[in-house]
């Protein structure tokens, strides 16, 4: 299963970013292989970033998103794309993944 994390840095040691759609990086983590891919997030539009970021998740066949809480438009797009959202505020990527595996992360939708 693919898990997307919105992060400040392109590594598992990074913090989860303060914002979802305007996070500097997205990590797409595959839990079976324990490998991840880095996507540099080019937040180059002044509005409508939410749906654009969700499109990145869809294109990468992501099932779960761990990030700061997405805005209203992003949330709607995530819901209709059946991507589960988990609250990763204040966590490191490695911590967030650990908590997610143990079922300790709070589901937002």
């Amino acid at each position: 299963m693919k898990i997307m994390l919105a992060t400040n840095e392109p590594s598992l040691e990074s913090q989860i970013a303060d914002r979802f759609a305007r996070a500097p990086y997205f990590l797409v983590y595959e839990d079976k292989s324990n490998k991840y891919k880095v996507i540099e997030n080019n937040a180059d539009i002044s509005r409508g970033m939410g749906p654009k970021a969700v499109q990145i998740a869809i294109d990468n066949k992501v099932k779960v998103l761990i990030s700061a809480l997405p805005g209203g438009n992003a949330m709607e797009a995530l819901k209709s794309s059946e991507i589960d959202v988990y609250d990763g505020r204040g966590l490191k990527v490695s911590e967030a993944l650990e908590k997610f595996k143990n079922g300790e992360l709070k589901k937002v939708s």
Binding site: D44, I45, S46, R47, G72
Partner: protein, 291 residues
């Protein structure tokens, strides 16, 4: 740990900036972020000295190369924004109407059109008497932009971390849309300013929903509560029903007008309004800084 406090209101003109400037005065050290980039005015009171200015490219616009144009008119037909006109025997693009959607570029048979980056605004890092301030100015005719606000907040957080300043005070954008959302997201606490009018209560409800969406703790301030006690009661009832905390009720006070005319913070004056604001700030500080 860095704390970000956002002051917002669903409705404009409720007293966000007056309150933000007061909080600025009441902190020992803080970074201010003016996120009302459409019509900023916190600078009028805080008088920042600009240290760094950055250009913000937030959109694209079409330009037309007349030498390649065969005047077929397809671009005008496909433009949904009515941004292409024909005048004096040639087509031209109305830059304030163009949304940069790319339809004309895709359909032009002679590749006479292309999209270029468009300057949407500027953002600044400045210095004020009480510490750094991040602010911005949107170009006239540009769309409301969460992106520019994101830059202002990034700049504020960066300088706060660099100088080890524990608090960022955000003067939020009005409304409930993209700019307001961008002002409150990932804040640690949100202060909502409500005014006792019909539209005041209506817009309060809408911004409460927006903040609830992000699951950020919030408190309500009723400004000029005594100009309409009937509406104030309704706001209080609404807050009680939803278990929303009322941080304080600021009375109508002519001194606020005097202070604004002098471009000074109300906190320079001893008056009922400044007295109440001081109490409100103490409550917020207790909540936010000691958690």
């Amino acid at each position: 740990m860095l704390r970000q406090i956002a002051i917002v209101s669903g409705k404009g003109g409720t007293g966000k900036t007056t309150l933000s400037a007061s909080f600025s005065y009441l902190t020992r050290e803080r970074v201010m972020a003016d996120c009302d980039v459409d019509a900023p005015n916190l600078h009028i009171i805080l008088k920042p000295e600009v240290k760094n200015a950055h250009k913000y490219i937030g959109s694209k616009k079409a330009i037309l190369d007349q030498s390649k144009c065969v005047k077929c008119g397809i671009c005008q037909q496909v433009c949904r924004f009515d941004a292409i006109s024909f005048d004096d025997d040639k087509y031209f693009i109305k830059e304030y109407a163009c949304e940069g959607c790319n339809a004309c570029v895709m359909k032009c048979p002679t590749k006479a059109l292309k999209l270029i980056d468009s300057l949407s605004g500027e953002y600044y890092l400045s210095e004020t008497q009480k510490g750094p301030m991040a602010h911005a100015l949107l170009q006239p005719g540009e769309e409301t932009t969460g992106g520019l606000i994101a830059e202002v907040r990034k700049e504020a957080v960066r300088v706060a971390r660099e100088k080890d300043i524990p608090i960022v005070v955000i003067d939020g954008a009005p409304g409930i849309g993209c700019p307001a959302t961008s002002s409150v997201t990932s804040a640690n606490y949100v202060v909502i300013v409500a005014e006792p009018t019909m539209s005041g209560l209506h817009d309060l409800k809408r911004i409460v929903q927006t903040v609830e969406h992000f699951r950020i703790p919030m408190g309500i301030v009723i400004n000029k509560y005594n100009i309409n006690e009937f509406q104030t009661n309704k706001i209080e009832k609404y807050c009680e029903d939803r278990s929303l905390e009322i941080l304080g009720k600021i009375p109508y006070d002519a001194t606020v007008k005097t202070a604004t005319e002098q471009a000074k913070s109300i906190m320079f004056y001893e008056c009922p309004a400044s007295h109440e604001i001081r109490k409100i700030w103490n409550k917020i500080e207790n909540k936010v800084m000691k958690r």
